[in-house]
Symmetry: C2
Subunit: 305 residues, 2 copies
């Protein structure tokens, strides 16, 4: 059975202090499924594009064992387009435009034979759509969910309904604080766990990530990157690597979730090394393994003092 | 031989959202030497107070194997006094007053028989005073140095002279960025290493700490604290625990420096649990060991997937 991925597929215009790119492949669905493709297969993607969506991107995704039976192509429609510009330290990005286009009326219909998929990633889309997806699934055993400040502020009630039905929520630190109105991250995590998720991952950018289980915490370091070329998609790549590894291993112990967090961090650290999905298109398993080992060396110590 | 500690001894008025305290024991010398006292002995303290300095504090410090032969007591003088108020999330503190008093004219004269001490902690005092100390030492084998934004902005040339002569610089992330004018912490660290220190520790508060050696990085997690009662002195406690452990073990390998960073983090995590030095006065070695083990569980993962 495949790994079901629901989210956006976007054509991005991205400007960083170093360079810029137009009509680059983007969107949560894209980054998630490409990242996951290095661990497991097949990915079952449900998304929507217009008939302007470049054939080369379809080919590239299919070459990564990403199945697109659930991709809706709207005749005469235009693909979701997003433009942003990063400030000098890459920590803040200003949105230049958001043209939802065909994504405005997206209804994520799951193809019949994918409804039995047990591993699901709900990318960062409206909580109403996330609920619409969950209602179609007969066999969801492990649901990983992303969200963002826009939904926390604008659709909190619907988001809370989603949270009761997911196994892992992945958000960043400012979103965790926003969701709970609690400045202390550890307390905020405790409050979010009470909202429903069995596990919570709080991403902290250059400071790594925290994984919370019942009465357990794991702190993952960030990979020390001197040069971040384009931060776009790093969070989605994390979610894809994390869930892809779990889908492959089918081991939902906390120890294995820790490893999954490191694999997610590994893929995210590669993602930001080039524009758009470029780096995620060309990885190999040895590179991923080597960086996983680097993460261990970065964070381990022994007590044989 | 002892562990030489030079720094301030202060009477603090501290106000947090939870409570407040007046004339509490504070200052870098105090926190550093108390923290170190759980790992090694004796501490050789060089500092200055007025004759208003409470006898009970002297007794408490001496009970922790802290030797005060280098403590200058100025007849008719008043002890350095500092007042601050923390904002609601404890991340920002506003200074209410800084009365340097006898500290204004402090000249850290090292007692003759301590000049051979090989381990030295230069607490956060003026770089000119740090240089004055280094000039008196005949045998400094391992010098750990703290500083702050005030000296980076006001005495940068003198600070750069200090950095050429220290083994470990301990600063926080905003100070590292200020010192180098570089937003990327990893790049900033590289620039600071070129200024002289063999090792660099960048403290990141709730995000842990980074230890940099030549071509090596160690990322230490923060202990997940739900309730921080008073952040005052945490950085000094870190420096004391770190250096105290190294002074005890006399092992300056990178692997042992990693452990020292975890012991520093351990002591700092205790420090913030109560006001002032209260928690640092009452620790025992079992508590410290247990928390060290918790740090390992917090950050370790294995690859037997």
């Amino acid at each position: 059975m495949g790994l079901l991925v629901i989210g956006s597929i976007v054509l991005d215009n991205i400007e960083t202090p170093f360079s810029k790119v137009e009509n680059a492949l983007g969107g949560s669905c894209t980054y998630v499924s490409l990242a996951a493709s290095y661990f497991t297969s097949p990915m079952h993607v449900v998304g929507v594009v217009g008939d302007d969506f470049p054939k080369k991107y379809i080919d590239m995704l299919e070459n990564h064992n990403i199945q697109l039976d659930g991709l809706q192509v709207v005749e005469g429609g235009k693909t979701f387009r997003y433009g942003c510009k990063y400030r000098y330290d890459l920590n803040v990005r200003d949105t230049l435009f958001t043209d939802l286009n065909v994504f405005q009326d997206f209804r994520p219909e799951i193809p019949e034979r994918w409804k039995k998929d047990s591993f699901v990633i709900l990318g960062n889309i409206a909580p109403t759509l996330q609920l619409f997806v969950l209602d179609q699934l007969e066999n969801a055993q492990f649901v990983v969910c992303d969200t963002m400040n826009f939904w926390i502020e604008g659709m909190k009630n619907e988001l809370l309904k989603v949270l009761k039905r997911v196994d892992v929520l992945i958000i960043n630190d400012s979103e965790a604080r926003l969701l709970t109105n609690e400045p202390n991250l550890i307390k905020a995590a405790g409050l979010i766990m009470k909202m429903g998720p069995k596990y919570l991952i709080i991403k902290k950018g250059e400071h790594g990530a925290l994984l919370f289980g019942e009465n357990t915490i794991f702190s993952a370091p960030a990979y020390p990157l001197e040069n971040i070329f384009d931060p776009t998609g790093a969070g989605d790549a994390f979610a894809g690597g994390f869930t892809g590894y779990l889908h492959k291993t089918r081991d939902l112990s906390f120890d294995n979730l820790k490893r999954a967090v490191i694999y997610g961090s590994t893929i995210a650290s590669f993602c930001v090394e080039k524009f758009s999905t470029e780096r995620l298109e060309e990885l190999d398993k040895l590179q991923i393994h080597d960086r996983f080992v680097e993460f261990r060396e970065l964070s381990h110590f022994d007590d044989n003092g």
